[in-house]
């Protein structure tokens, strides 16, 4: 979508500049001629004096989707201003999005394809410029020969979250290339424990658990639990602030007095990673004191469904009758009216609780099992474990039981610990028992993704010659496979890797593993980026890629009910190319002409992706996106998207108090039987490292979290010249008590270390941290530290069921340098 062409007044900016520059120069040059020289070297002919405006959408991984007007003068993007959405409070912007041109035109932008100078070490910073022809020929030669010698799986495709465009982004065109090559794609592990835990209750998969951002206007209470929207998702916070102004109470549960806690009505400090225990103790107290929402439990939860003691499975219709595949297979309940079992929905008086004998099999209701499971979680023990006083816990109980509609803003704070999914699962159970799900103002918020519009990924990914990528193991295991060239006892060569929209070296935990185990195994490491981040620095070759505004795309927005178009505002700078072009070049050079014919353009792929039933239903076409800029996908016009408004996306359509068939998020050959029986019912598990009883806690007294700040989105904007004027260097923040014990003062240089790595960095004393907690805004790159880097400190292991990164489950100690 492009709009108003504004004609500028008679004199152009540049010619005006020249005129005033000359005057100022003459007036002030007594000592030199610099300004006159600058004048002489300046722009030459007057421009055509036109500012064109077109529209786009920011696509970094901040979980928001601000739409921007791109102001272009003389082919250059000179300004980005927030652009409208039909719902005005969704119009947003931030310091990163607005200053994106400082990344486009940054003096640090990667301009040409470059190859590491032969004979120099990876990371030594010796590069030689090469032509695109040479680069593509070399990439094709490496990939082809490695694939022939070791098999296509020896090439690893690493996808990151640097661009949420549907075609040029994380789930876009490079998946088509990986699919025809048959490359390896390690299972992603970012931010997936929250959804995995909540899914146990409401069946929303990994990323679809949240209500639309504006739904909080209907909340009587917002509990911000382990997230910090004031810094990390200000576009969501804007709605919460509005709600607060209407009388909604905001309560923050967080180990750190976050920026959001400072804005809230109530702040509840909690010992890091003990949130799950708190939720379960509250749930038990609620049940013991009969404070639960009986109506919700009876109508919308699996409370009455019977569980067989012999198998742990629900008692299903198929236990007694043939059920054809695809046919519904409802569970049985106990009908008090008849004293016998009945299929769910067919009982007159279904028993919510009880234990029964059915044909020699003992069965319990799901509710009974949950109650028994929760019985051990007490408020007094919660006080000891969580550090939250009993009376505060009871006040929070009041919120959940007496509040008209409670929403929990959750995101990925708790997610980043080994016990993240149990914490989130526990909170979901608390929400179910108190009926705070599936209605206006009630449920989770954090990352609302639109489920209504399914795009045709298959058409985009599965090109002629498609063999598919292999996801055999998760990202955390790549270093083991690379080091041993084996997986599960069999040969699994890893010889090449390409990082696509990804800064893996910076954003995967345990950085030293990447540098010392993955890199040495690779014969060839290709990076594609705009800036020299950690990943590019350690690569063998880098390709310059187009920025958000240098190509066309569209995205299904996060946290808004729209699909939004990105116009190509300017041509790619220097020799940068967009993903569609790069992919086509590599594909054809490798002999995949059928998948990537030269005639295929962005339009070809966009039309493939938009050829789905849902797109037809919503009438989503590229033409319309180009014309209208964005299209509303609201299911109920005017009403916020609410998860589970009519039913939940579980097998039964009900909120599950008992998980019949729990499964690990990723199967990679781990022992899934051992824990299977334990995974039916929610439980608390201490975190691996942060919990006070851990072995690490005995040696490393301080918890370290890499907080999400306003300055960067993960590592993007790490080198923005404009933002670095405000936030020039890495700062490690520690509590006054911890600092005092170590003789450290604000401004001191400290070494933060554990047995995995270290960083040397400036320190600031921060009283929003209790003793034993420390933090640092994430995103800084290794060369910006005095020594080391924060990602050296994190551990590379994962919970075998959640299979997620645990960045915050990290302990350190600190000493003054």
């Amino acid at each position: 979508m492009s709009e108003s062409t504004v004609t500028r007044p008679g004199i152009t900016r540049r010619s005006f500049l020249k005129a005033t520059g000359a005057v100022a120069g003459v007036a002030a040059v007594a000592g030199g001629t610099s300004s006159l020289v600058a004048f002489a070297d300046g722009e030459t002919s007057a421009s055509n004096a036109e500012e064109t405006i077109c529209y786009g959408v920011c696509r970094s991984n901040c979980m928001q989707s601000c739409r921007y007007a791109a102001h272009v003068v003389d082919g250059k993007l000179v300004k980005l201003t927030p652009a409208e959405y039909a719902e005005d409070l969704y119009r947003g912007s931030c310091l990163r999005g607005m200053s994106y041109m400082h990344r486009i035109y940054s003096p640090h932008r990667i301009k040409y394809p470059m190859r590491r100078v032969e004979g120099t070490e990876r990371g030594a910073g010796e590069w030689e410029r090469i032509s695109w022809d040479d680069a593509i020929a070399e990439i094709a030669e490496k990939f082809t020969s490695i694939s022939q010698e070791y098999g296509p799986k020896s090439i690893v495709f690493d996808f990151g979250t640097g661009n949420y465009g549907e075609i040029q982004g994380q789930t876009g065109i490079f998946n088509r290339l990986g699919g025809v090559i048959g490359a390896s794609k390690p299972a992603g592990m970012n931010d997936l424990a929250t959804g995995y835990g909540i899914d146990r209750v409401i069946g929303t998969g990994l990323m679809y658990f949240a209500n639309e951002a504006k739904s909080v206007l209907d909340s009587s209470h917002i509990v911000v639990w382990g997230s910090n929207p004031v810094h990390s998702t200000p576009q969501n916070w804007r709605w919460m602030q509005r709600a607060k102004e209407q009388g909604t109470k905001i309560i923050v549960v967080d180990p750190v007095k976050s920026a959001t806690a400072h804005k809230a009505d109530v702040y509840i400090p909690i010992k890091a990673t003990t949130d799950g225990y708190l939720a379960l103790a509250m749930a038990n107290y609620i049940l013991e004191n009969d404070l639960q929402d009986d109506e919700f439990i009876a109508a919308r939860s699996t409370a009455p469904l019977l569980v067989r003691r012999d198998t742990g499975m629900l008692l299903h219709k198929s236990d007694y009758a043939e059920v054809a595949e695809g046919e519904e297979n409802p569970a049985y309940v106990w009908d008090n009216a008849t004293g016998a079992i009945a299929l769910y929905g067919e009982a007159t008086d279904p028993a919510l609780e009880g234990t029964f004998e059915v044909d020699g099999v003992t069965v319990d209701t799901s509710y009974t099992l949950l109650k028994q499971q929760l019985a051990d979680y007490s408020i007094s023990e919660a006080q000891r474990i969580t550090g939250v006083p009993e009376e505060t816990i009871l006040e929070l109980v009041d919120v959940f039981t007496k509040g008209d509609a409670v929403s929990v803003n959750i995101s990925f704070g708790m997610d980043h610990y080994m016990n993240g999914y149990q914490s989130c699962w526990a909170i979901a159970i608390l929400m179910a028992l108190t009926g705070n799900l599936g209605r206006d103002g009630a449920g989770f918020t954090g990352i609302f993704l639109n489920t209504a519009l399914a795009l045709n990924m298959k058409a985009l990914w599965a090109a002629p010659g498609f063999v598919g990528m292999t996801t055999a193991f998760p990202m955390t295991m790549l270093h083991e496979v690379a080091e041993t060239q084996q997986f599960n006892g069999e040969d699994y060569p890893i010889k090449a890797m390409v990082s696509i929209i990804s800064n893996a070296v910076s954003n995967w935990p345990s950085q030293n593993n990447f540098l010392e185990k993955i890199l040495p195994a690779l014969d060839f490491y290709l990076a594609m980026d705009m800036e020299m981040n950690d990943t590019v620095r350690y690569a063998d070759m880098v390709l310059p890629v187009a920025s958000f505004y240098e190509h066309e795309d569209f995205r299904k927005a996060h946290n808004l009910p729209y699909i939004v178009h990105q116009s190509k505002a300017i041509d790619p700078l220097y020799e940068a190319k967009d993903d569609v072009e790069i992919c086509g070049l590599i594909g054809r050079a490798m002999g995949f002409e059928e998948a990537f014919p030269e005639s295929n353009t962005f339009e070809t792929y966009a039309n493939l992706l938009l050829s789905s039933e849902a797109c037809e239903k919503f009438n989503i076409t590229l033409e319309r996106l180009r014309e209208e800029g964005y299209i509303d996908l609201s299911v109920l016009p005017g009403k916020p998207g609410i998860v589970g408004r009519t039913k939940f996306t579980t097998e039964s359509g009900l909120a599950q108090l008992y998980t019949e068939k729990p499964a690990p998020r990723v199967n990679y050959g781990q022992d899934v039987k051992e824990r299977f029986a334990k995974e039916h019912l929610v439980y608390y598990q201490p975190s691996a490292e942060v919990c006070e009883e851990s072995e690490a806690a005995q040696t490393f007294p301080i918890v370290f979290i890499q907080e999400h700040s306003r300055w960067r989105t993960h590592s993007q904007w790490f080198n923005s010249p404009i933002l670095k004027e405000l936030d020039p260097e890495p700062i490690y923040k520690m509590s006054p008590e911890d600092a005092q014990e170590r003789g450290i003062e604000s401004g001191d240089i400290v070494e933060v270390f554990n047995d995995r790595g270290h960083m040397v960095v400036k320190c600031v004393i921060d009283p929003s941290l209790p003793q034993g907690m420390s933090r640092m805004p994430k995103g800084w790159q290794r060369e910006q530290f005095i020594e080391g880097g924060y990602q050296e400190l994190t551990y590379p292991t994962h919970d075998e069921w959640a299979v997620a990164f645990n960045f915050y489950d990290t302990r350190v100690d600190v000493k003054k340098r």
Partner: protein, 206 residues
């Protein structure tokens, strides 16, 4: 007419978006910020005062206060800084400014003005921001213009348009029906250094 700002500190999240919008719109030289976000709390940016968990923090965005009774205009020997009768905007005319910096000493709001000791430099090798944004000259004092180039076209200042928290309001304080007048009529407000008698046109509520 007397244009002014209302800043809602309850809504302000200290995100610096207004500062960045200002810097871009006005093509500000390196290291120059007309609009800065001060932390009212501890000694460093974003660090609160007090002891855990009873800490407090507030943000104070500060730009030229476009005072009704400005201290700066009285001391300028060449009339480079003056209050525009029509709009109430306090201007700083770079072409007239002789760089004596009297205005900087007279203004009680330290830091809203900056002086270009050298030829202004820009990290990007191009001009950005509004096509009609002001120039930046060596040996002159500069400050917030209230985006007068935008105001002249009927637009609001860039900082107001950009604010993601919707914490900044702008309008005619002389018009009792304007949004800004309505807010300060209904809510208690403070002005920075009210004792100085400068009658600033920036009102802080919240």
């Amino acid at each position: 007419m007397n244009y002014g700002f209302v800043i809602d500190q309850e809504r302000c999240i200290g995100c610096h978006t207004c500062a960045v919008a200002c810097k871009i719109e006005n093509n500000l030289p390196d290291v120059v910020w007309w609009n800065r976000i001060l932390t009212d709390g501890g000694a460093e940016m974003d660090i609160p005062a007090g002891e855990f968990p009873n800490t407090t923090i507030e943000y104070v965005p500060v730009n030229c206060q476009h005072c009704e009774n400005p201290a700066c205009t009285k001391v300028c020997p060449v009339g480079a800084t003056y209050k525009d009768e029509e709009t109430g905007i306090v201007h700083q005319d770079a072409d007239k400014c002789i760089g004596c910096r009297m205005c900087m000493s007279a203004c009680p709001y330290t830091g809203v003005r900056s002086f270009n000791w050298d030829e202004p430099t820009h990290v990007l090798d191009m001009n950005i921001g509004g096509v009609d944004a002001p120039e930046h000259q060596k040996h002159t004092v500069e400050k917030c213009t209230m985006c007068s180039h935008r105001v002249a076209k009927g637009e609001e200042p860039a900082c107001v348009e950009a604010c993601p928290a919707r914490a900044r309001f702008w309008g005619d304080l002389d018009d009792p029906n304007s949004e800004v007048s309505q807010i300060i009529k209904k809510r208690s407000f403070k002005q920075l250094l009210a004792d100085e008698g400068t009658k600033p046109s920036v009102y802080y509520v919240g």
